[in-house]
């Protein structure tokens, strides 16, 4: 029995009388502690998959099972790290995490425990030093780290990362990828990450799920990345498994399923 099962999911949107089928027959099983990336060209519907797992979108067909139970509606057991951090600008870094902690653990943990837990999660992403700053006072990378801390603090069964490093510069992105790898190694979270960055997908994932182009996009290929953990980006340069995985994904994206606009 898979930990998370996306079962024959399809979704169609109706706009101005026309129906657009975005996803068709998406099937995916994820084991506990697995790190799965979903990669594809922009507009293929990979974020839609994530939003369906999060419960922010209702699929037209099929459904999502988490630990054998059908998922309906959003909830803190499937925490999302949004692409543009989505911190509330009127709250401090600590208050942003606290909002989640208090909501999820009120009645289950004492006030002091909740405060320690907030602090602990900020320390996990190395942001405890800025806990009293407001989002506009910290850099984009730091905001994203707080977004990750907020998601981790909910103790989700599955962590959903929606292009979490997409808006960051290359150096900050690498730094954050390392931190996420370290946290995943330490806590063994189950993670689904949406990305369009091939290197990022190969470096971080146990499995890379490649999506075909829409409309009616589906999973084209499911590639296992058998690389030892902990992984270090420098040591992977020249590694055959790494290079083969990278080549396979590139081949899928640029030879067999070119972006529709580029193919025309």
């Amino acid at each position: 029995m898979a930990y998370l099962k996306i079962d024959h999911v399809g979704i169609a949107f109706q706009r101005a009388g026309a129906t657009t089928e975005v996803l068709r027959d998406v099937n995916l099983s994820i084991e506990k502690s697995e790190y799965v990336s979903i990669i594809g060209h922009s507009g293929c519907g990979k974020s839609t998959v994530l939003n369906i797992v999060a419960g922010l979108l209702e699929p037209s067909q099929g459904g999502v099972l988490l630990e054998g139970r059908a998922v309906s509606g959003p909830g803190p057991d499937r925490a999302v790290v949004f692409q543009n951090h989505s911190l509330l600008p009127w709250l401090t870094v600590r208050e942003n995490v606290e909002l989640a902690v208090n909501k999820v653990f009120r009645g289950k943990r004492s006030k002091a425990e909740r405060r320690d837990w907030t602090r602990h999660n900020l320390e996990l992403v190395h942001m405890a030093h800025a806990e009293n700053k407001r989002p506009h006072e910290i850099s984009g990378g730091m905001k994203q780290r707080v977004g990750i801390a907020r998601a981790l603090a909910m103790e989700p069964k599955i962590l959903l990362l929606d292009e979490p490093f997409g808006a960051l510069d290359a150096l900050t992105r690498a730094h954050l990828q390392d931190q996420v790898m370290e946290i995943h190694g330490r806590l063994g979270n189950t993670i689904i990450m949406i990305t369009h960055d091939v290197d990022e997908a190969v470096l971080l994932s146990d499995r890379i799920v490649m999506m075909t182009n829409g409309p009616a996009a589906t999973i084209g290929e499911d590639l296992r990345v058998d690389l030892e953990r902990p992984r270090r980006r420098l040591e992977l340069v020249g590694n055959t498994t790494y290079n083969d995985a990278r080549a396979a994904v590139l081949e899928f994206l640029y030879a067999r399923h070119r972006a529709p606009t580029l193919a025309a």
């Binding site: 949004f82 543009n84 009127w90 909501k103 407001r134 909910m154």
Partner: protein, 300 residues
């Protein structure tokens, strides 16, 4: 600010060779910082105050020159002070009927504004929230509001006099109907503009409707709300002066109209100064409250 700090620091840098500078710095930081702070505050005050003071002086001189000819229709500043000395020095005068000091006239106007504006704020924010949250309410009410809000304030006055049969509630109604639209429309726009991301965060956290209202909707909308409240207070003050000219009684608007009927042009000018200053203070007060409530994220 930065410039003044540099002016103080530069002589030090010039006299001290680079090698000595490192030694000098920790030894004598206090006198330098105190001196530079005094100079900085001093230059700050001068650079802040000098431009407006000079501008006002220039305008007064220009006015004096333009209006000093004996055939001039309007009085010069010196003549205004001379002719209206009585009302300038005694704003707290208590007399019979409408023969009151300017302070009491302004107070009477402010009381009317307070009633009308408070009502407008409550109704405007309430209906604005409804319009922002419900697409159905928006579709139904928006066209009506878009037409109503273009009606000039004074056009409402005869109708409200007919309805209330009294000057006081009619004036308050005119204030209300003038200032409610910007408050209402800005509030609803603020709520519509709450980023989808914040709504998604609320959904993932499963915030209750009340939690969503207090933790997300109010803080996200307050800056917009205060834009509307600020436009609203300005419009109220514009409308009250005009409305009072027509309804009579104690109030700065009727004071101006009465002065015109008595050909006391200097009194009108003194009253206009009051109207301007009070309007300015009202605008800044609402801006300051908004600044305080949004912890500085609202536009100044």
């Amino acid at each position: 600010m930065v410039h003044s700090a540099r002016v103080v620091a530069l002589p030090n840098l010039k006299t001290a060779p680079p090698a000595q500078q490192a030694v000098l710095h920790p030894l004598a930081p206090k006198p330098v910082s105190v001196l530079s702070r005094v100079v900085r505050i001093g230059t700050g005050i001068v650079t802040q105050l000098a431009p407006p003071v000079l501008t006002i002086a220039f305008l007064l001189i220009l006015w004096q020159m333009l209006a000093s000819s004996p055939t001039s229709a309007l009085p010069s500043p010196m003549r205004v002070i001379g002719e209206s000395w009585e009302i300038i020095v005694d704003p707290f005068k208590v007399g019979n009927g409408i023969d009151q000091g300017l302070f009491w006239h302004v107070t009477a106007s402010l009381v009317r504004v307070a009633y009308g504006y408070t009502l407008a704020a409550i109704v405007g924010i309430g209906v604005g929230v409804l319009l922002g949250q419900s697409t159905l309410a928006m579709r139904g009410l928006d066209p009506v509001f878009q037409v109503l809000r273009t009606i000039p304030p004074l056009a409402w006055l005869p109708l409200s006099l007919a309805a209330f049969r009294d000057g006081q509630p009619s004036a308050i109604f005119v204030i209300f109907i003038t200032s409610v639209w910007p408050i209402l429309i800005n509030t609803s726009v603020g709520i519509r503009n709450i980023p989808q991301d914040y709504r998604n965060v609320a959904k993932v956290l499963r915030l209750s409707p009340i939690e969503f209202f207090t933790r997300i909707m109010v803080p996200a909308t307050v800056p917009h709300m205060f834009t509307g409240l600020r436009i609203g207070i300005g419009l109220s003050w514009l409308a009250i002066v005009a409305a009072e000219m027509l309804i009579g009684g104690v109030g700065i608007g009727f004071f101006i109209w009465d002065a015109w009927n008595s050909s006391l042009i200097s009194d009108i000018i003194v009253a206009l100064v009051y109207v301007g200053v009070v309007g300015f203070v009202l605008d800044r007060s609402i801006a300051a409250i908004g600044h305080l409530l949004t912890r500085g994220t609202a536009a100044q």
